[in-house]
């Protein structure tokens, strides 16, 4: 494996692109590792990369039960932002956003980060006041936030129905210009490749079947490809978090739900920012290929299957057409779903556990993708030092007993109501 460069591009272009080396070697698991990360999605691969890069721990493995980046990292709508009200979530996602800005260079892999901005629309003066409050909370933290007038929005998103006759007339909006999108598959491949270049074993088709413990410590894990001895196990498995924790006899405050998204046929550039509906949970952006990718609410009841139903998509499309009536002529190309692990306060869990050497990264609800680089750093630090890093401290599992829960929306322990 070699780094990509302008010269390798040149060389391979002139040989008809027939001699590109394999992007990632296919490795079999060894009998022992210093640490094992379960889950070969964005979070797991980023954790492995930062364990190797920041902490020099390279005798590690990432185990993926199916194929690399085949889970939620390939199923999200690629939005990257840090527009949170609560300090804890704001700081973690802002740390991630700073890393996104330089990620392609860092990984020697084009993750196609595109800071095109995210616009949250307001449909009443009260909502605009609320966005001013959110914007102020962000500004206090040093994060960019800008209130836009209807005139500014009209100039920025010409296809948006900004007329007073609209189904939900627009009164203004909150813009975070540094937010954007990144190519999700490239994020998984970029982190995987960069980790493998530093000596990390990335093992696909390897499912964890049990966690072997002794005296309150992890000593090994059993997999479908044999037993692996290791003192540290970190799980980054989203929808499989509850089952994985159950193997360690740990119960988590999670409930799985299905989140769907869809994409239209590609068209010429018509939308140069991410737009969200301020009343319904709806978000839309245009990919670099020209497709409009959009999503809405979760299906509304707990699921373990990625096969969804039409009503939530119909609701999303209804919201879309109330904002962009002219999009009604576009055809939908694909719909898909991802199983998201919704936590009881809508915030993630990034924590050590009662079992020594067992680390949990779960409960990201809708929003795991945007945090990928920061989660990788923080979880790597936690696994390397066995201490809780400052950015992770608010997200410990113990908060559900201590009462320090982080509810951005305050819906209580009803995770199916969180946006």
């Amino acid at each position: 494996m070699k780094n990509y460069s302008i010269w390798s591009l040149f060389r391979n272009a002139f040989s008809g692109h027939r001699s590109w080396p394999q992007a990632l070697p296919d490795v079999a698991p060894q009998e022992q590792y210093d640490a094992v990360i379960v889950g070969g999605g964005g979070h797991g691969l980023a954790t492995a990369y930062y364990l190797a890069k920041n902490h020099g721990i390279t005798h590690i493995a990432v185990l993926e039960k199916s194929w690399l980046g085949g889970g939620n990292v390939a199923r999200n709508t690629t939005i990257v932002r840090s527009n949170y009200f609560h300090d804890a979530r704001g700081r973690l996602t802002e740390q991630a956003l700073k890393l996104w800005e330089n990620l392609s260079r860092e990984l020697n892999f084009n993750v196609m980060f595109s800071p095109r901005g995210i616009l949250n629309l307001a449909h009443s003066t009260a909502q605009l006041d609320d966005y001013a409050r959110l914007g102020n909370a962000m500004a206090v933290r040093g994060v960019d936030a800008e209130l836009l007038t209807v005139g500014q929005i009209k100039a920025l998103v010409p296809y948006l129905d900004t007329s007073p006759e609209a189904r939900f007339p627009i009164t203004g909006g909150l813009m975070q210009r540094r937010a954007g999108t990144a190519r999700h598959d490239a994020v998984a491949w970029g982190y995987g490749r960069a980790a493998a270049l530093r000596g990390v074993d990335i093992v696909q088709n390897c499912e964890v079947t049990s966690i072997v413990r002794q005296g309150g410590k992890v000593i090994a894990i059993d997999t479908t490809r044999g037993r692996i001895r290791t003192p540290k196990v970190g799980i980054c498995v989203a929808g499989a978090s509850s089952r994985m924790a159950e193997l360690a006899e740990i119960r988590l405050p999670l409930e799985n739900h299905l989140l769907q998204a869809c994409v239209t046929e590609p068209v010429k550039p018509i939308l140069n920012t991410i737009v969200t509906h301020g009343l319904f949970n709806f978000y839309i952006s245009q990919t670099d290929k020209g497709e409009l990718v959009m999503g809405g609410d979760i299906d509304g009841y707990n699921r373990y299957s990625t096969f969804g139903e039409l009503p939530p998509l119909e609701a999303a499309i209804r919201a879309c057409l109330s904002l962009f009536p002219s999009f009604s002529r576009l055809r939908l190309m694909r719909t898909w779903g991802g199983v998201v692990d919704m936590s009881m306060d809508g915030s993630p869990i990034l924590s050590k556990t009662s079992l020594d050497g067992f680390y949990i990264n779960a409960g990201w609800c809708y929003g795991g993708f945007k945090a990928t680089p920061a989660v990788g750093q923080v979880l790597a630090q936690m696994m390397a030092t066995d201490e809780t890093p400052e950015l992770a401290a608010p997200f410990v599992l113990d908060r559900f007993h201590s009462g320090h829960i982080i509810a951005e929306e305050g819906k209580g322990p009803k995770p199916w109501l969180y946006h």
């Binding site: 509850s242 089952r243 159950e246 119960r251 988590l252 405050p253 999670l254 409930e255 799985n256 509304g300 009841y301 707990n302 699921r303 373990y304 299957s305 139903e309 039409l310 009503p311 692990d341 009881m344 559900f400 007993h401 322990p413 009803k414 199916w416």
Partner: protein, 90 residues
């Protein structure tokens, strides 16, 4: 689409119903003397099974009654006919 058998109105589309969460968690009996830990476990912690799940539903666009249902969370198959559950709910 998921079809839900309401014990009063019969089988209807799931869009007529509101999901109410896990019905298998037991509210501590003596709430005056329950430990914080037991109360937090009741509020927040779940089994989240891939398979049989006992859950609350409300037929909010029909008879408005709450009832419990056992459903397979992987296949969406309703495994046990719903039972009227007067006086309870999430």
């Amino acid at each position: 689409m998921l079809r839900i058998p309401c014990p009063y109105c019969g089988e209807r589309d799931r869009t007529e119903f509101t999901y109410g969460g896990d019905a298998s968690v037991q509210r501590p009996a003596d709430t005056a003397h329950v430990s914080d830990k037991a109360w937090d476990n009741y509020l927040y912690f779940r089994d989240n099974p891939a398979g049989e799940h006992r859950e609350y539903w409300q037929h909010n666009l029909g008879c408005r009654q709450w009832f419990t249902l056992v459903r397979n969370t992987v296949t969406n198959e309703v495994l046990k006919e719903s039972a009227a559950n007067p006086g309870s709910g999430p």
